[in-house]
Amino acid sequence: MLFNTLQFAVFFIIVYGLYLALKHKWQNRMLLVASYVFYSSWDWRFLFLIIVSTVLDYVCGLKIHGAKDVRKKKLFLFFSVFGNLSILGFFKYFNFFAANFQRLLGDFGLTVQPHFLHIILPVGISFYTFQTMSYTIDIYREKLSPTRKFLDFAVFVAFFPQLVAGPIERAKNLLPQILSPRKVTLSKFYEGCYLIFWGLFMKVYIADNLARIVDPVFAAGPPYKGAVVLISLYAFAFQIFCDFAGYSNIARGLGKCMGFDIMVNFNLPYFATNPRDFWQRWHISLSTWLRDYLYIPLGGSKRGRANTYRNLAMTMLLGGLWHGAGWTFIVWGVYQGTLLVVHRLLAPLLKRIPSPRGILAQKVSFALRVVFFFHLVCIGWLFFRAETMTQAYYMLRSLLTGFGSIHGTAIQTMMFNTVLFTWLLMVVGFAQFWKKDLMVVYRTSAATRAVFYVICYYLLIVFGVSGGEEFIYFQF
């Protein structure tokens, strides 16, 4: 059940109506049923997995908290982490590792026929397993007390607005909101509606239209024209942002309508000027999860420079692997890790460069850094989007050696269409950046908002893609 379908609209209207009519305890039970119904609409067989993960972490959470012995705490933490990673590993990575194992042995002249399983990847598995692991880890770290209310905990695991594509909520943020009665105010309802509207606009008008520019380029084989690849990367950069941030906005909006505050997952990532800044703005729930549960336990930046670089690289490599069982995702992760390491290495040198004098010079300098770093991010997106490493190689090569001319109807049409579908996003993004407020449009005058909405209506009606296209991050 995709957010951008009539089916979901009907579902939410019913759920919301019931939600408003019920008292707190029954609201939570209803939310649990609704979340399971929502998840079942993808594939009811995988409800079993969520329930297993829920029971596992509920029990482990209580046991960790109740254990006096540190070894026993560690044991139950191990059960939780191992259990969740096993589920994730099996469904997501079994065939990948089997295929690569076969290839590796083949390189040594050994022929092996591994048993490939016809495994369907359960939607959202990467998200909810990480979410539940954070619960037990935080209990182990004594940052959180476990809840004895199993049904409420189950709502935390399966909460439908953020179940299939995040944000990956922390128990200490979401669980108290579930356990306590929530106040649904008119202002929250309106804010929620705005977020849902803007999220749908990002998905239906921007992301799905940009997909029509990007997909044919990546569906074709070599040779590639560098100019075409570059424009498709620009388009993909905004496609993936609008697809994912759009989903997050809808999730936050749905939550807000019900009185929940779900974390912000994107904070103008393309205004970043360096990789560290980027990862504080892009997929914030994942980057903070990796920081808190992987990077810091590995030692973070506290054990010397070499260890820091190693920890950064490992964290980003696993971050890439989290996205998918494929070498392109791993390379993307390594690339992001490399950017972080290089930035750390160059940071002392960069600090010595004097800042430009004058406001205009500073703004120009900032703009150039943003544009430069945006292009570095786009190179990463090339690996992320490519179907295979071979394709990524040929495309990268075309950028360097086969750029070609930017003249020509096809290229200009691509450029034009990319601008057509992103101009309003740019306007809103600049306004958000200038006012340092993601809700800047919502907080403008009623007249400005009315005009903004009318423009969105026209763009949605005329150019909106109505096919109910899936969100990119569902595949993770």
Binding site: L186, Q412, T413, F416, Y458, I461
Partner: protein, 380 residues
């Protein structure tokens, strides 16, 4: 604690309400604007944009008393098989204007839905061109998707009767689309409008030149291999009785009856088909079809020009099984012009109340200007 905001609905969503009102007002102004429809028509293409081209044509038809109007209706057969410029040049001498309202994939279902819109324009003559396949083919997903351009809620009871609720449920997206399109022409024609806007901007920014396309999309004759492949694939069953056949018959009867009752002369013409077309289906289909149309022509009182009444068309005059090429188009257009100009030898022409151009006493001496005819060329 129960949520309490329903009882404290003090803040009215002014921006949202204003935006809805502003949208309704601006859309109303836009769709009443001739310039808007001219723009969409100018940057449209036949086939893909048949819906909006038809809308434009219907909106620009003038109901002048001294003018006689002829509507050519049907599917892409009509769009492709008539040279409207030629017809209007010739018919214009007799104070008559023809409008080509042929649209891709049109069946009696679409004609039934369009009936009221057509009759509202008070034509003198409606010429309906179709062939056996029109009544003996499936009504598939594409047809449901296109339905929004012509949708009339009066069709729903017939869908329910002949397709059943299961099919209607499976096509709920198309039905909802069609219902929404009834409220908003912008929504109805959004695909075409979007394409027009893109084409216009690309043209004016010199990215891609736009030249108004010819009203015909089929340019090259299919090779012989195409015909043989299609015949082999069809295995004599390309057309046949379908769940849709009875519905199309009933709707055709309702359509014809209503047209004739409104004093409009209806002429049903068997669309020319490639000599090999008969190999796609069994002979009994033709027999049943001819017999049905003849019976209805007698009962309702419209003119039926069967295949035997048409000039003979050879293989060289066809693009494919059902569409004429330039050569065939000229022949068919000449034939129609002769029929409408009173050169018909059929006895049933003179027996109709509004014989039109055949009546010399009614012939006006004033000339219809050529530009008026060519303003509504073969689009739609």
């Amino acid at each position: 604690m129960k949520s309490s905001f329903i009882s404290s609905f003090r803040r009215v969503p002014a921006a949202f309400i204003s935006s809805i009102l502003l949208f309704i007002v601006t859309e109303s102004i836009l769709v009443r604007s001739e310039a808007f429809w001219c723009f969409c028509r100018h940057y449209s293409k036949p086939a893909d944009d048949d819906g909006i081209r038809l809308e434009y044509t219907l909106r620009t038809i003038s109901n002048k008393e001294e003018q006689r109007t002829v509507f050519l209706i049907g599917s892409s057969q009509v769009r492709e098989d008539f040279d409207l410029e030629y017809l209007n040049r010739e018919l214009g001498k007799e104070n008559t204007t023809a409008y080509n309202l042929g649209v891709y994939g049109a069946t009696p279902i679409e004609m039934f839905m369009l009936k009221d819109d057509l009759l509202e324009k008070r034509p003198d003559i409606i010429i309906y061109v179709a062939f056996a396949g029109t009544f003996y083919d499936d009504y598939n997903d594409n047809d449901f998707r296109r339905m929004k351009y012509y949708f009339n809620p009066a069709i729903l009871p017939y869908f329910s009767k002949y397709f059943g609720t299961r099919v209607m449920f499976s096509q709920r997206g198309a039905l909802i689309d069609s219902l929404l399109g009834g409220f908003s022409p912008l929504y109805k024609y959004r695909d075409s409008i979007g394409r027009s806007i893109l084409a216009a901007v690309q043209h004016h920014t010199r990215i891609k030149n736009w030249t108004e396309p010819r009203p015909y999309i089929y340019e090259e004759n299919k090779p012989e291999r195409y015909f043989l492949d299609e015949i082999r694939k069809a295995n004599g069953k390309r057309f046949g009785p379908r769940p849709y056949t009875e519905m199309s018959r009933e709707l055709f009867v309702l359509f014809a009856d209503d047209v004739v009752s409104n004093g409009v002369k209806l002429i049903y013409i068997d669309g020319p088909t490639h000599p090999l077309c008969k190999k796609l289906y069994g002979r009994e289909i033709d027999t049943a079809y001819n017999s049905f149309i003849s019976d209805q022509a007698d009962k309702i009182g419209f003119v039926y020009l069967a295949e035997s009444d048409l000039p003979r068309f050879t293989e060289e005059e066809f693009i494919d099984f059902t569409h004429l090429n330039e050569k065939g188009r000229v022949k068919f257009s000449q034939f129609l012009k002769e029929q409408l100009s009173g050169k018909s030898t059929r006895s049933d022409w003179s027996s109709l109340p509004s014989v039109g151009m055949a009546d010399a006493d009614d012939r006006s001496t004033s000339q219809v200007s050529e530009t008026e005819g060519s303003d509504v060329d073969g689009g739609g």
